[in-house]
């Protein structure tokens, strides 16, 4: 305190300068992220305006306007994602339960790693696997299914000879979204208050009764958000669908026929390298539609999670 005031002042100023530079650079970095997200939206909108206001007859596949052009792809995207979630949700909940409450404590972490391995496999490899291994493997089941249950509209014939149908694509999608859904479910299940579980067990409940009485009520919102995050992933998945599906511009529910409705993302990946002029704008506009849909779903999912605890699928 008794040293010269000038020196004290000088140290203070120097300190403030370093601090300011550092804190400002962190703020800038944070703002860049917001700017990037805004830029994604703005540039996509700019590039898609020509397609949205296109004259009839100028769009690809002879659509009267943009919405007629994009509708089959929107339908295909939602339908494939829905089928994938129907399969993935019970499996993911089961796997998460197995890891959190059923597997021996010592191996459960290793089992979690193994499931995470699935998430590390690149989507193009999944596509390759789906087209060369899965499709021929499931094709006999498909033809059997059309023979036995062909009266049911979903399984109506004629069956695809290659097995490259929307159901196969949905199976691949399900395999790909299972890791993220499992990770979130597992984390929520593990957060169940121990006392609730032990109280249920002490009252004589079996393990399953304990799970339904203590774990599921506690984890309901976590499960819902896991489903929605899985949905977001399934909607945006590109290459696996692009490789597995034999696509057509078509709207139909039958899942075993050769001509399947394509998804937005797969359509972009397949058409973009050869597209020119207005069809590029049309593809970007369909990408914008996909962006908006996934954004809404993710915001909703994050909102549900953030009411509870801070964790995300990013780690």
């Amino acid at each position: 305190m008794t040293t010269g005031t000038a020196e004290v002042l000088r140290t203070r100023t120097r300190v403030r300068l370093g601090d300011r530079v550092f804190s400002i650079s962190t703020v800038v970095a944070g703002t860049i992220i917001l700017a990037v997200l805004a830029a994604v939206a703005i540039f996509l909108i700019l590039q898609s305006l020509p397609a949205v206001f296109a004259q009839p007859g100028t769009l690809p596949s002879d659509a009267v306007n943009f919405w007629a052009y994009v509708w089959p792809f929107v339908f295909g995207t939602l339908w494939a994602a829905f089928l994938a979630l129907i399969m993935a949700t019970p499996l993911a909940i089961g796997i998460a339960l197995f890891i959190s409450h059923y597997a021996p404590r010592r191996v459960s972490q290793v089992l979690g790693y193994i499931i995470d391995l699935l998430a590390a496999i690149p989507s193009v490899v999944f596509g390759l696997w789906g087209i060369t291994t899965l499709a021929p493997f499931v094709q006999p089941f498909y033809s059997w299914l059309t023979e036995v249950a062909g009266w049911f509209p979903l399984f109506a014939g004629p069956v695809s000879g290659t097995g490259r149908t929307i159901l196969t694509a949905a199976i691949v999608l399900a395999v790909m979204v299972i890791p993220i859904m499992t990770a979130i479910c597992r984390e929520v299940f593990l957060q169940t208050p121990r006392l609730h579980e032990e109280a249920a067990l002490a009252l004589g409940a079996t393990r399953w009764e304990m799970v339904t009485m203590a774990v599921f009520p506690f984890a309901r919102s976590g499960i819902i958000s896991a489903i929605m995050l899985g949905l977001g992933r399934a909607l945006g998945e590109t290459l696996a669908v692009a490789m597995v599906l034999s696509p057509a511009v078509i709207v139909k529910f039958a899942v075993l026929q050769a001509q399947s409705p394509n998804t937005i993302a797969a359509n972009i990946a397949l058409q973009f390298p050869e597209a020119t002029g207005l069809s590029v704008n049309a593809l970007i506009a369909s990408g914008l539609v996909l962006f908006v849909v996934t954004l809404l779903i993710n915001v909703l999912a994050r909102y549900i999670v953030s009411r509870r605890k801070t964790f995300s699928g990013a780690n």
Binding site: A29, L117, P122, V125, L239, F291, N315
Partner: protein, 360 residues
């Protein structure tokens, strides 16, 4: 124990309970039965080869049913239901393993055919039939990913420092929320964004490796932010307070205390983020295009990347040379998986080797 007891049980406590090891016995038995059934199928020529996946799957289903019936007979409906769920949950886990095993097996067995020195020392320039390699694609992948990491690591790291050390109020909450939202951006949309951005300045035909890096950065930044944020929050507050008490300014505290303490975790997070984007195909297919030649210049001309190499080799395989192209695709897939798994392994090793030694 009176003479009128109906059941001559040796141990009153184990009455009405399936014996220990019954579960495993039933499981093994079911697998054996289904294995035998499929073995007979294979031997009689009804199916081509022994279908191990089908045998394990149907065997597990048989196990679920049998165990439920046994348990219901011996232990009553409540216990039986519990056992049924236990076996169903285990089955779910095994079902999830099947694609993993099948995928690993086929990638290895089909990829090994062209996993030779030529594959790593040649490009596809002027190659129409067999031979050729993926050197141009491997170089492209490394360059594009490295550049993406150079863009996203500083931004991601600084943002996480802001969120942990400085961020209060609306901006911090906004960034946290939108980083979470960004993790859900479809990869193809990131590619479209990079295209829309560059096409505005350079015309619609532009393709370059740098555009791929920008697209990958959009996907990578949120992952880096989330993982670094989590790691930085683990640094004990006492360390920061001790540093402040010694009169060290805040920015030096962060640089000299917080970051070195969490270095291992940060490295792990970044490595995992790289592993996550290195396999991305869709955005690179759009903005990097494809080529058969070497290209070391990231801002000029099309650049091949490994995932796109796999995709194009498979989809453009046709005619007499189709087999060679498909083999190259599988070798590419094997290389890609090895790279990703190595990165994951390195990340885990770093995390383990430099785990904080404080007694927390």
């Amino acid at each position: 124990m009176t003479a009128t007891t109906a059941q001559p049980t040796a141990n009153a406590f184990s009455a009405g309970i399936l014996p220990r090891g019954a579960t495993w016995a039933v499981l093994g038995g079911s697998w054996l039965v289904m294995g035998a059934v499929f073995g007979i199928f294979a031997a009689s020529g009804l199916t081509t080869g022994f279908n191990i996946v089908g045998a394990v799957f149907l065997g597990t289903v048989l196990f679920d049913v049998l165990l439920y019936l046994f348990s219901r007979r011996v232990e009553g409906p409540r216990r039986a239901k519990d056992r049924l769920i236990t076996s169903l949950v285990t089955t779910a886990f095994i079902i999830a393993l099947l694609p993993l095993i099948s995928l690993a097996w086929i990638v290895m067995s089909d990829g090994i055919a062209r996993f030779d020195p030529t594959f790593f020392t040649q490009s596809m320039r002027n190659i129409t039939g067999g031979g050729g390699g993926a050197l141009h694609a491997i170089i492209g992948t490394l360059l594009v990913t490295l550049l993406a990491a150079l863009i996203s690591v500083p931004i991601g790291l600084l943002t996480s420092i802001y969120l942990v050390e400085y961020g209060r109020g609306m901006l911090a909450r906004g960034i946290t929320f939108f980083v979470d939202v960004m993790t859900g951006i479809p990869s193809i949309v990131a590619g479209l964004f990079a295209y829309a951005l560059f096409a505005l300045f350079a015309g619609p035909a532009i393709r370059s490796g740098f555009m791929g890096s920008v697209a990958l950065s959009v996907l990578m930044i949120p992952v880096v932010v989330r993982s670094s944020e989590e790691i930085l929050r683990l640094v004990p507050n006492e360390l920061r307070e001790a540093s402040y008490a010694l009169g060290v300014p805040k920015w030096l505290t962060i640089l000299k205390i917080v970051l070195p303490t969490s270095l291992a975790g940060l490295t792990t997070g970044v490595t995992l983020a790289i592993a996550r984007v290195i396999g991305e195909t869709a955005p690179l297919l759009i903005v990097c295009g494809f080529t058969t030649s070497m290209n070391y210049d990231v801002v000029e001309d099309r650049m091949m990347t490994l995932p796109v190499f796999v995709f194009t080799q498979y989809t453009q395989a046709a005619g007499a040379d189709a087999q060679a192209a498909v083999e190259r695709a599988w070798a590419g897939a094997l290389t890609l998986i090895i790279i990703v798994m190595l990165l994951n392994l390195i990340a885990r090793l770093i995390a383990r080797a430099f785990a904080p030694k404080s007694g927390r």
